[in-house]
């Protein structure tokens, strides 16, 4: 008897891959034709995209709802500043180390946090971030409440203003692309299937042999690693770090949640669309003070009520589009037509 074949490739897999490669290449060449303002905005967007993909991996794919990812943004940022202050560590190594430090904190934190389930887990992640902010604000080693500045020679070593801007952009772009690559490969693998099964029904998934503990720990640590590096790059571009900026729930979590929810919770395409909407709204509403966040909150609530899959969910339903082929298609090979 023939087995039904399962394919993961969409109908235009090659073409899609080529298009994505072309887009990345064009983005990488941006410093040769775009001005500094555009590059800076693009750098910020790439960092937010990394945060969004990682939060989506947690909440949208694994069902792990954290509202404390600002902990890892801040840890990554502070770790990077401390490493940079020692001097002599190459930039890439320092960034990698910052991510590793975030990861090293994430593992014991996970053991603590996963004692709580669901919503209580969510608030506890926030408490941890608050603790980190309070400790940073009281430690003279990291400048207490005033924070730290990046040593001048570190910034100078990266060249003049234009060269620096280009390097920051390449770093942020590289990080976002790697985050996407990791998420994509993970979600296509058996472990990715396990994640989604866990999200849909943790008990049933456990019954079928998915180690929910191990998978949750993995996804939480990987998210912390990438979030930490993103934090390092964000504060490298800002050249300054302070506790309130580093561990800000509004900046690093509320905005990221908005991006993912609007774009599409549980899809890899979603964060890109959400990112565009978020930056467009931010620019449009920049002069409206509190109205900006009121409107953001209202849009997020309306999306949750009317289109829980976000904008990309609507597009997918209407047109059947997929950019990242995560879905498994079953082809029946025994004669009958489906």
């Amino acid at each position: 008897m023939t087995q039904p074949a399962v394919t993961q490739a969409g109908p235009h897999a090659r073409l899609t891959a080529l298009c994505i490669a072309a887009v990345i290449l064009a983005l990488a060449l941006m410093p040769y034709f775009a001005d500094r303002f555009v590059l800076r905005t693009a750098t910020e967007m790439a960092c937010f995209l990394t945060l969004a993909v990682m939060w989506n991996l947690l909440a949208g794919f694994a069902g792990v709802m954290s509202i404390g990812q600002q902990l890892y943004v801040g840890l990554g940022g502070y770790a990077f500043f401390l490493i940079a202050a020692m001097g002599g560590v190459p930039l890439m190594a320092a960034l990698g180390l910052s991510g590793l430090i975030a990861l090293l904190i994430a593992v014991p934190a996970a053991f603590l946090l996963f004692r709580l389930n669901g919503a209580y887990f969510a608030v506890a992640t926030w408490v941890l971030a608050e603790i980190a902010a309070l400790i940073a604000a009281q430690s003279d080693a990291v400048g207490a409440g005033a924070g730290l500045s990046l040593p001048l020679q570190v910034a100078r070593a990266l060249g003049n203003n234009d060269e620096r801007t280009a390097i920051f952009w390449w770093l942020a772009l590289g990080l976002a692309v790697s985050a996407y690559l990791v998420a994509y490969l993970w979600l296509r693998s058996g472990r990715g299937l396990a994640l989604m099964a866990m999200r849909d029904d943790a008990e049933a998934a456990g019954g079928l042999g998915v180690s929910t503990r191990q998978n949750r720990l993995m996804v939480y640590s990987v998210a912390a690693f990438f979030t930490g590096i993103a934090g390092a790059i964000i504060f490298l571009t800002k050249l300054r770090i302070s506790p309130s900026a580093a561990f800000s729930v509004n900046e690093w979590t509320a905005a990221v949640i908005f991006i993912v929810v609007i774009g599409g919770l549980g899809s890899l395409e979603g964060p890109i669309i959400g990112l565009a909407v978020f930056f467009a709204l931010r620019t449009l509403l920049a002069d409206f003070g509190p109205w900006y966040l009121i409107i953001l909150g209202a849009i997020a609530i309306a999306t949750m009520l009317t289109a829980p899959g976000g904008l990309w969910g609507v597009l997918h339903k209407r047109f059947g589009w997929d950019v990242f082929a995560l879905r498994r298609h079953v082809k029946l090979t025994i004669g009958e037509k489906s």
Partner: protein, 290 residues
């Protein structure tokens, strides 16, 4: 020794306020299995409502203590019926995200109306008066009043839950929502009442907070975290646990604050972590945890 006694008394007094913060969160979680991330902002909304009644309208503190909870209860009922009932279900993500969005909206709407200035309801002499408990050990009169209100409110909630028809409906809905519905309990209405009750508690907590300390539209976050820690310390789902959790958190903060004023908040958070490690079910855990 007297210094230790003073710290203990101080911790217990503020613990009463913390128990009030937690009461509403505990009701909503107990009945709806929903963690309301806008809870802290609702306490602050209660505080501003109280401020408008007591100061702007000039009706005074006691009018505020009655009117603000009633208004908040009304808001809570309709918020639940019109918005939150639509997102309650097996999936915990939608209600969390919706209440997170609500939190952003309440905070910024308050900023828009009241600006970022800090405000306070002044109560005159009673704020500075104190009661001598023992030689050298004194407690603020206002702290005692808050403590009394906290004990009374939690006692009342306990009676509502165990002795009344609506309490039976709350418990039935909490145990098995589907079966309760089949038995003729109007669950949307019951959910509305639960949130209404929770927001009444927020109103009381908010007005009392407004006298205790000054507040701004952004003060909600810290209160949400306190309420949450109180519930976890006391034991999730236990009404009396909120009182014990409040005392313990208050004590931890008082001890931390006595060592160094900057350690006050940190000591509370650390006490929460210690409890989480040693007694993940909280002090008053009822058997196995869900």
């Amino acid at each position: 020794m007297t210094e230790l006694m003073n710290i203990a008394v101080q911790g217990i007094a503020i613990g009463g306020l913390y128990a009030l913060f937690a009461a509403g969160l505990s009701i909503v979680f107990g009945v709806l299995r929903l963690v309301n991330l806008a809870h802290g902002d609702m306490i602050i909304l209660g505080a501003f409502t109280g401020y408008v009644v007591a100061v702007s309208a000039g009706m005074g503190f006691f009018a505020a203590l009655v009117i603000a909870p009633i208004l908040m209860g009304f808001v809570g009922y309709w918020l639940q019926r019109l918005l939150l009932n639509r997102v309650i279900g097996k999936d915990i993500l939608p209600p969390l995200l919706v209440t997170f969005g609500l939190s952003m909206m309440i905070q910024n709407a308050l900023l828009l109306v009241f600006t970022a200035d800090s405000r306070k309801i002044a109560l005159g002499e009673i704020e500075v008066a104190s009661v001598q408990l023992a030689p050298g050990v004194a407690v603020g009169s206002y702290g005692l009043i808050v403590l009394a209100v906290a004990v009374a409110l939690i006692g009342a909630l306990h009676l509502i839950f165990t002795r009344t028809a609506i309490g039976r409906a709350f418990r039935a809905t909490a145990d098995d929502f589907e079966t309760a519905r089949h038995m003729g309990i109007p669950t949307p209405h019951v959910f509305g009442l639960a949130t209404g009750l929770a927001l009444m508690a927020c109103g009381i907590a908010g007005v009392l907070l407004a006298v205790w300390t000054s507040f701004t539209p952004l003060s909600g976050t810290a209160r949400l975290l306190i309420a949450f820690e109180v519930i976890v310390i006391g034991g999730i789902g236990s009404i009396w646990g909120t009182l014990i959790g409040g005392f313990l958190l208050g004590l931890a903060q008082a001890i931390g604050g006595a060592i160094n004023p900057e350690f006050q908040m940190l000591a509370g958070h650390l006490a929460f972590l210690v409890i989480l490690v040693l007694m993940p079910g909280g002090i008053l855990a009822k058997g196995a945890r869900a």
